[in-house]
Structures are given as C-alpha cells and as structure tokens.
C-alpha cells in the first residue's frame, strides 16, 4: 500500500476504536488519522484528530468525513446490545452510524477501501447450524445483534459495489478486555454464573488487542472479504465460572427467565445473543485470520477468560481538589 494514506475511524471513542487508532498511529503507511464518536477516546491519541459527533447528526458526520476525504475507512462504531446501550437504542445507534458514516465515505473521491466490524453472531445458532462455521457458511442470524451486524455488512457491500471500492468485514467473537463493555464479560464476573444444565455449550472469545491488530492488518492489506476473528480454543460457562472461582448455577427452562431478571438487577443484563451463547454456544473457524490477515491471536480463549477474572474491579479515586 502507498504511504501517507488518510485513515478515518468511526467509533474511535470506544475501547476497541481507541486501540485501533493507537495501533494505526504506529503504522508507517498511515498519514493523517481522524475519527469520530459520541464519546471521547479512552486514552491519549497523539496523531488522531477526534471529532465528537452523535450518530444522529448526519450533516456533521457527512461534512467531517467528506472534508477529510479518507483513503481507508475503518468502521468500528457499533453498539453491542446491553454493552453501553439498551438493545433497541443500540440497534438504532448502530444503524444510524453505519448509514451516515459509510454513506458519507461513499461520497469521498479518494476512498479505496472500507473495513467494517461484524460479529460471528451473523452465522446464527439455529438447530443443525454448523458447530464451527467458516466464512463461507450461510448467514442465518438468530439474534438481534446478529441481524444488526448482517445489516452493517450488507450496507457496506452495497456501497462498495456502487462506488467500486473493496470492502472487508471482520467477524469478531465476543470481545473481552479490561475496559471493554461486554455483556458476556459482565455476566461471567458476577459472583454467581448461570449455565445451561442440559447443554453447557462451548464458546470462543477474542481479546480486544488481538481484535485491534486484526483491524490494522485488514486496513493495511485492503481486505476484500469477510474473516472470522476468534481466539483459538474454547470454554463453557461452567468451566469459566470454575476458573474464576465463581459459583456456577445450573438452570433449566423457565428458571432462565428469573435468572435474566436477577442478572439485570445485578447490573449484568443478558441480551438475546448472550443467552444464545449460554444455550447453544458460539464457535467459528479462525483459519483465515492467519492465512489472509497474517495475524495470530496472542491469547487463547482460556487465557482471555483467566485474564477476565484478574482485571481489577472499578477503582474509585477521589478528586485531588474537591470542587463540589
């Protein structure tokens, strides 16, 4: 790829977006960097120009993106249900952001390449769905989040076709990290962890840093296809609870309704895609991560789960100067 590419990152305020931006800042092929989000970045970015814009401010988004005229768009601005917003609001925000940002990028004359964040929820977990689907498996989402990421991929593919740019989608396993708002991570860190007594199926995750490395590689090589981004190995809810010395609670049938209510009250709501993980599992083939992206995950699923239980809880530090 030629040097001094302009790269635009949507969702740069989130933990994953901030990580992607900080890794892109270290890439020599990247020239100017710019990003937008409704919230400011989680850490100091040295080269990235940040614009604080809400997803519903279409005109400002279009103006900002068109003025920057990026060569590469990295679209990380998605809201996972019950991560930072309730499911309905999350779907609305994600749809607004995808439409306006990808739509705005399509108006840019220099645009060459788009990378979007998707999820392995896109394959769905219907009965007889493949245990470990590869990228060519049929897309049959069975959760709200699965439909949302399918819509993002669809929008990006349509735009790519229309304006003649390459589009790559990174289908991420549930992302866990010390500062990542993840409904699955919150649930597993509760003192008691519910699991399906009849199935306790396996699932895989990915650490935020490995996911960010995948985005940087996809932007660098001009990825033009979907790739699953999944850590090797798998675990189950019962095994995760045991590793974290939590109390596993076996549940069957209607007990789940009560558990979901109690979990919501405890601050860890269980959206339908996380419930699906607990009932049906979620794995995906990560073979093309190495062969296409050239990225090898640094942490296995069990290592990510172990780290999940070692990350410190919220540390409250009083202000040095009390102003109120």
């Amino acid at each position: 790829m030629k040097e001094s590419r302009r790269v635009f990152i949507s969702g740069v305020g989130g933990e994953l977006g901030t990580l992607v931006a900080s890794l892109l800042e270290a890439e020599d092929w990247v020239g100017a960097l710019s990003g937008i989000d409704a919230d400011p970045p989680r850490r100091r970015l040295h080269r990235t120009a940040f614009h604080r814009i809400r997803p519903d401010e279409h005109d400002r988004i279009v103006q900002t993106v068109v003025d920057f005229d990026p060569h590469v768009l990295v679209h990380v601005g998605v809201w996972e249900p019950d991560a930072r917003a309730a499911p309905h609001l999350a779907a609305t925000l994600t749809d607004q952001a995808a439409t306006s940002i990808i739509g705005a990028a399509a108006e840019c004359a220099s645009l060459e390449h788009v990378v979007v964040r998707s999820g392995i929820e896109i394959y769905g977990r219907a009965r007889n769905a493949l245990t470990r689907p590869g990228e060519s498996a049929p897309l049959q989402p069975t959760s709200e989040w699965g439909h949302t990421v399918a819509a993002i991929e669809r929008t990006a593919a349509q735009v790519g076709q229309r304006v003649g740019v390459t589009v790559g989608a990174l289908r991420l396993a549930p992302v866990l990290g010390p500062h990542v708002p993840s409904p699955l991570g919150r649930l597993l860190r509760l003192p008691t962890v519910p699991f399906s007594a009849l199935a306790d199926p396996p699932f895989a995750v990915i650490e935020d840093r490995d996911a960010a490395r995948a985005f940087v590689a996809a932007a660098r090589i001009g990825l033009a296809e979907p790739v699953n981004v999944v850590a090797p190995g798998a675990t189950t809810a019962l095994q995760a609870a045991r590793r974290g010395r939590r109390i596993p609670v076996p549940l069957v049938g209607p007990q789940w309704r009560i558990a979901r209510t109690l979990s919501h009250l405890a601050g860890a709501p269980i959206p339908d895609h996380v419930a699906e993980v607990l009932h049906r599992g979620r794995l995906a083939d990560n073979g093309r991560m190495r062969s296409v992206l050239g990225v090898e995950p640094e942490a296995t699923t069990t290592e990510v789960i172990d780290r999940l239980y070692h990350w410190p809880s919220i540390i409250r530090q009083p202000a040095r100067v009390q102003v109120a």
Binding site: A129, L130, L198, P202, A204, N286, G287, T302
Partner: protein, 224 residues
Amino acid sequence: MGRVLEFRVSDEPAGTVDDWGRDPGLVRSMMQLARVRWDVSVGGDQRLPRRKGGLIVVNTRRFALTPVFAAFAISEAVDRPVRFVGRPDTAPVGAFARRIGGLLDHPDEVGGALAAGQLVVIGAEPGEHGSDFVGLVDHAIVGAALAAGVSVYPAATSSSPLMRAARVEIGSASRSPRKRRGPLTELELADRVRLDIALLLDELGELHTGTPLDWLPISGLGGA
C-alpha cells in the same frame, strides 16, 4: 489450516474443551467405561497421518455406536483426538455427544474439521447382513475430504454382542480408480472405500469364528 489448540490425548488439560467442544476429561472417563465392555485392539494405525487430517470410514451395525467406539479406540492408539460424525443437535444428547467428540452429519462441518487437521471417523450405512455387508458411504462427506485435501481410510470393525474382544483394522488410504474433473471422483472414491472395507472384513474374519484347529496347515482352514 486454522490455528487450533492441539494436544496429545494423554496430555490434554482437564477442565477445558477444545475448538469443537470436545471435553478431554469426559472422553477419558468414557474410554475407561468402554474398556469394561470391550477389549479393542487397533491395527494399521501407523497408516494414519501424524499431524494432518484424515477421514476414516468404518462399517457399522444398527444401534452399535460403532463410529463412537472406533473413534475412542483409534484415539487411544494414535494419541490424538479423534472425532466421529453423527451427533444430533438437541440437548442433552447432542450436547453430550459434542463433549465426547461428535460432529454434525454435514459435509461443511466435517470438511472444516478435516481442513483443520483433525481425524474424523464416519460410519458407512449399516449392512443388510450384519457387519459382513458394508452399506453405502456418504459421498458428500467423502467429497468434503477431497476438498480439504486429506486422505480417506477404510477401516473394518469386528465385534461380538457376547464377547469382549473387538478389532479395528485400518487399511491404506483408498484411491479413486481414475481421475475425474467433476463430482464423479467423490462417488467413485466412496464406492472404492466401501469395497476396501469389505476386503478388510474378509481378511479380518469374525473374531469368534474359527476353530481351535485353524492354525494347522493340514486342516485347510488356516495357516500358510
């Protein structure tokens, strides 16, 4: 090939599941349980690849769970996880079968495992006359093996409902009789595997047939 966590069966860590949801601790327990009922000897396991994937086709009898116990026996012999095809997708039976190494009976599922370097056992359809007659081999699964670039191995299994002794004999990789450009390759290879299993069964004989005088050259029943 995808990066999957690979362990020898004897070294697999407890309290984990692998990339397909197989639970090594549960598999070890099931193997010990199976040993109470069967004393399985495995032959020809040196023909299987050490690291690459391979599809092993075994003859089956109705309700005998042959692929499951063949997978356990071969796994023990080669010290590698071996999966079997044919788990249902309903809890709790399907969930249990997945924990002991079961895969869905779907070409893409089997193809994914083979491409990732796994050994997979699949049963031919049950024969009409017990295990003497080998039923059809699913050509779509054989096609998945061809697409994954792995070999297909015939394996004859022999056991008795009354005795403990059982045998799994793995043959050399089957070869399609002629090169084809289209899907005929998988059909012809499936038929070839079926024939190879029948040949292996003929060579194996039944473990409980044969007389105490079989070894005598003059009896005309055995020997050189």
